[in-house]
Structures are given as C-alpha cells and as structure tokens.
C-alpha cells in the first residue's frame, strides 16, 4: 500500500469486461433480431432444428442481453469508475486484483454453461431466472466476488465520501443479491425424491405465491439491473465527459432514496387482474405512478447538468448518446406507470406494447448509456484516440431510427391487439379470433424486425469502432483525456 510516483489506475479487469460486454451484446442482439424476424416470418423457426426455435432462443436472448451484455457493462464501468471516484488503484491490492480476475473468469464460465443449458432446453421456467440450481449457486459465488471487490476497494480508498455513483453500484449489488436469493429458492428434485434428472428443481413457492415472488424479482431485476447501475454510470460519465459537475448533488441523494423506497413495491403491476389480492394490485399501480418522481429526479438532474452547455450536444456525439439515454429513461419511466394503471393495463397486458416498453427502455437507455460509457473509457483504457467520430455519429442516427421503428410499431401492434381481444359483438361474443389479430399485426412485426436489424448494424459499427481504437487508433497524450473524449474525424 505504498504511494509512489508511478501509481496509476489499473484497468486490466475493466478491459476484460469491455470485451465481454461487446461479445455478449453481439450474441444477445443477433438472437434478438432473429427471433423478432421469426415472429414476422415463422418459417425462420426451423433453421436449426430444435435449437433454432423461438422458445429455445428467447431465453437465450433475454439472458444474453441482461446477464451477458448489461452485467458485463456494469462491471466494466465499475472496475473503471470505482477506482477513479475512490481515488485508489487496483494495482495497490494484489488481493483485489486476484478477486477481480476470478470474478471475470468464473462469470465467463457461468455464461458458457448458461448458453449450453438453455440451448439444451434445461430451464427452471421462471422468466429471467431460467438457470437451474447448480448454475444459480455459481452465480451466487460470482456475486459475492463482486461484493468483495466493491467493499474491498472502499476499504482502501483515499476519498472519504462515496460519490453518488458508488451508492448506486452498492444498491445494485445488495438489491440483486436479495432478489436473486429469494426468487431462486428451489428444491432439487432428485436430491429429495431420488427420481428424475439431477439438474431439475421445483420452486420453493407454489401457485400465486410463486407468481408474486417471481414478479417481485422480475420487476426489480429491471430496477436493479437496468435502472440503478445505469444511473450510476450516467452520474459519472455525463459530468466527466461534459466537464460539468452534476447539477444538484442534493437532488441526486433525494432521488436515490426515493428510488430505493418506491421501486421494491411496484412489481405487483405485472399481476393486475390475476389471482393476486386486489389490494396488492392497487399497491403495485400506486407505487409505479409514484416511481415517476425519483426516476425523473435523476433524469432531469442529468439534463440540467448540461445547462448552458447545450452546444456540446452538436459537437460531441458521446453527449448526444447520453442525453438521448436520459430522455429515453424519462420516456420509459412515464410509459411504465401509465401501463400500470388498471384501466390501461386492461388493454396493455399480454400485448406487444409491453415488449415495446421494455425495448424503448433498454435500447434507448441501457444500451445507449453502456455504449457511451465504453466510448468514453476506450481511449483511457488503451491510450488511443477513438477511431472514428463520423462512425459514432452514423451509428447514433441508425440506432435511433431503429428504436423509433421498434417502439412505434409495438405501440400500434399492442393497442390494436388489446382492442381486438376485448371487442365483442351485440350478443357479447368475441368479435375476433386470435388468428385475426396475428394477420393484422404482421406488418408491425416486420417493422419491428427491421428496427431491430438497424439497431444491430449500429452495434456492429460500435464494436468495429472500439476494435479499431484498440488495434490501430492514434496514440494519445494523457493530458487530453481530462474531459471530452479525443476522437479522429
């Protein structure tokens, strides 16, 4: 723990996770685009036998983008931001460095096993919690390793106060730990009964209780996977890239506690008009609407951080990515509460408006923010200029077009679907059969697949840009790395 003149931040682990972010982003988004196309053109289900069907690939898509791409992005930024805001280098602790490497490689092992088991159809059949119990146990070890890294680095920090991003990273760690443990409580059937496959398990909860725990988990996986850590990122990267301190630090604290108190109660909105007690459904609705306040608190704080500096929006494409990300955060955190209102939910539930909502959140907010973070980090990780500014600009517009096509087609499809399912004739008989809706929705499914394809092409441009930065970017002088990311035209 000696201070010396050569002491620098050590980004070894951050680089590893940047690599896995890009890898899993490609895998998850290729599969996502394929299954979107399968919905429009069902013949595409039969390309690879049982391994190419929608039912096999859909969990691979969700797990790939959530636990592959997003988690890697969270960890890439953690191993970068954590050191910087705590003003301590990983190089100062061989122990934490070893933990970090173990964290990465064990995580990669879990991901490989996840891909193999899901492709084989081995699943616990709970949404976003499909992995079977042996893998769940490994996930817990990975998570504990991350916890050691967080609290270990905090233990040796120089900066006394934890920056707001740190609060959000810690909340991600604690939130997911609690959710994951409770939702994945399961009985391995063979160990208890002596029958069946050793991989198989049965949930510890039954019926409605299972649904409640599942959606308490499912919704909060969105909270602590897609919201909290992404806010951690934007609170660091937007101020850093723009050179503007966060507009109101007090507002960031207030929004943090607001989000923590409110989010955990909102999951009931996934079970409106189900067998769950009515008061729980109402509570889910009410807390979802209240959730607008802390969500917008953070988003507005970010937009106000740019106050007086809006010229940067035209000059710096990274600012463009982050401002659009916080705008999409505002859009999806308004849209979600609207969908949670019981009367709206009566139309929206089970329709394509729901994946539409999820995707304007993840494509516009989560992925944009993670890509912006990697664009910002890459020159600092490799001491190279970002390979091409014009490629970043082109990617931005291509992907923005993709998102608009995705969510607008799903809005129309979802509301059309909801209205058709509810339509009755003068005798109270349903006016349409299911296949009628499928026929009507076909053009929108095609538009969605095209939107997804544009987004995917944009992601390949991103991956290429980062690869070229690393492989052949121009060497950069350390003094130019303070705020705006240096990039070649």
């Amino acid at each position: 723990m000696q201070n010396n003149a050569a002491l620098e931040y050590d980004y070894t682990i951050a680089k590893m996770f940047v690599f896995s972010t890009i890898l899993f982003g490609i895998v998850g988004m290729v599969i996502g685009t394929l299954i979107a196309a399968q919905l429009a053109f069902p013949e595409l289900n039969y390309l690879l036998g049982e391994y190419g069907t929608f039912s096999r690939l859909r969990p691979l898509h969700t797990n790939g983008v959530i636990f592959g791409f997003t988690l890697s992005g969270i960890w890439a930024t953690w191993y970068y931001v954590g050191q910087r805001v705590l003003k301590v280098s990983m190089a100062e602790s061989p122990f934490l460095m070893a933990i970090g490497k173990l964290h990465f490689w064990l995580y990669m092992l879990v991901m490989v096993l996840a891909v193999v088991t899901l492709l084989m159809g081995i699943t616990a059949s709970k949404e976003y919690a499909q992995l079977e119990w042996p893998l769940d146990l490994l996930v817990v070890v990975v998570w504990v390793l991350w916890g050691l890294s967080i609290f270990g680095l905090i233990g040796i920090r120089r900066e006394k106060t934890l920056y707001i991003s740190m609060w959000y990273y810690i909340a991600t760690f604690l939130g997911i730990a609690m959710l994951y443990l409770f939702n994945n409580m399961a009985i391995p059937t063979q160990l208890v009964t002596g029958y069946g496959s050793w991989l198989h398990s049965v949930s510890m909860y039954a019926g409605t209780n299972d649904a409640l725990v599942q959606w308490w988990y499912g919704h909060n996986a969105v909270a602590f996977g897609f919201t909290v850590p992404i806010i951690a990122m934007i609170y660091y990267f937007l101020p850093k890239e723009s050179g503007q301190a966060v507009y109101s630090y007090k507002l960031s604290l207030l929004s943090f506690w607001g989000l923590m108190f409110v989010y955990l109660w909102a999951g009931g909105h996934h079970l409106i008009y189900s067998t769950v007690p009515d008061w729980m459904q109402s509570m889910g609705s009410v807390f979802s609407v209240v959730l607008i306040l802390p969500s917008w608190g953070s988003a507005i704080n970010m937009l106000l951080t740019m106050k007086g500096e809006w010229n940067q929006l035209t000059e710096n494409p990274l600012i463009k990515f982050m401002v659009l990300a916080s705008t999409f955060y505002m859009l999806s955190t308004l849209e979600g509460p609207i969908q949670s209102i019981k009367s709206v939910n009566a139309i929206a539930h089970f329709t394509d408006w729901i994946p539409g909502h999820v995707h304007d959140g993840v494509l516009g907010w989560v992925v944009f923010m993670i890509m912006a973070a990697i664009f910002h980090m890459a020159p600092r990780l490799f001491n190279k200029e970002l390979y091409s500014k014009s490629l970043v600009e082109k990617q931005f517009w291509l992907q923005t077009t993709g998102i608009v096509l995705y969510f607008s087609s799903m809005w129309i499809a979802g509301i059309t679907q909801g209205m058709m399912w509810r339509a009755v004739d003068e005798y109270g008989n349903l006016a349409y059969s299911f296949i009628d809706t499928v026929t009507v929705l076909h053009p929108y499914y095609t538009i969605r697949a095209v939107g997804g394809l544009l987004y995917l092409i944009g992601f390949f441009m991103f991956a290429y840009n980062i690869y070229k930065t690393f492989a052949s970017g121009k060497e950069v002088d350390g003094s130019t790395l303070q705020n705006k990311t240096p990039m070649s035209a």
Partner: protein, 78 residues
C-alpha cells in the same frame, strides 16, 4: 370485515402523512445542513471531475492514507 377496511383506511392515511413527512424532512435536512455550514453537498459533484489518482481528494479518508499528491513531488500533469 368492516373493521379491517376501517383500519386499512387509517393505516393508509397514517402512512401517507408519515412518508410525506419523511420525504420533506430529508429535503429540509439537506438544505439546513448546507445553510448551517455542517456539510456542503454540492462540492461532492467535483468527485467525478477531479478523479485522477494524483488529484487531491475532496475529503481525505484519514491522515494515514494521504493522497498520492501529498507524498509525491512529481507535478500534476493537468
């Protein structure tokens, strides 16, 4: 059964008032601490900007673990 609905009503009212007070209490606490000079929250925003390992911490963790700059004669680059 009616009793339960009545209790629910009171509980709902109580919690609404209670949580609103907590929320506003926290806001008042933040502003009052700043006004009395106990803590300047806004200076923490600088942590994201001045984050080189050679930058002086906004608040030093302890005397034992000085910032790199304090023990290092090398001038800062930026």
């Amino acid at each position: 059964m009616n009793d339960i609905y009545e209790y629910q009503g009171y509980a709902y009212f109580f919690f609404t008032v209670f949580l609103t007070l907590i929320l506003y209490g926290y806001i008042i606490h933040l502003y009052r601490s700043e006004k009395k000079g106990i803590r300047d929250y806004e200076k923490y925003g600088k942590m994201a900007l001045d984050d080189e390992i050679t930058d002086k911490p906004i608040e030093e963790k302890s005397e034992q673990k000085k910032s790199v700059d304090d023990t290092d004669e090398k001038p800062k680059e930026q």
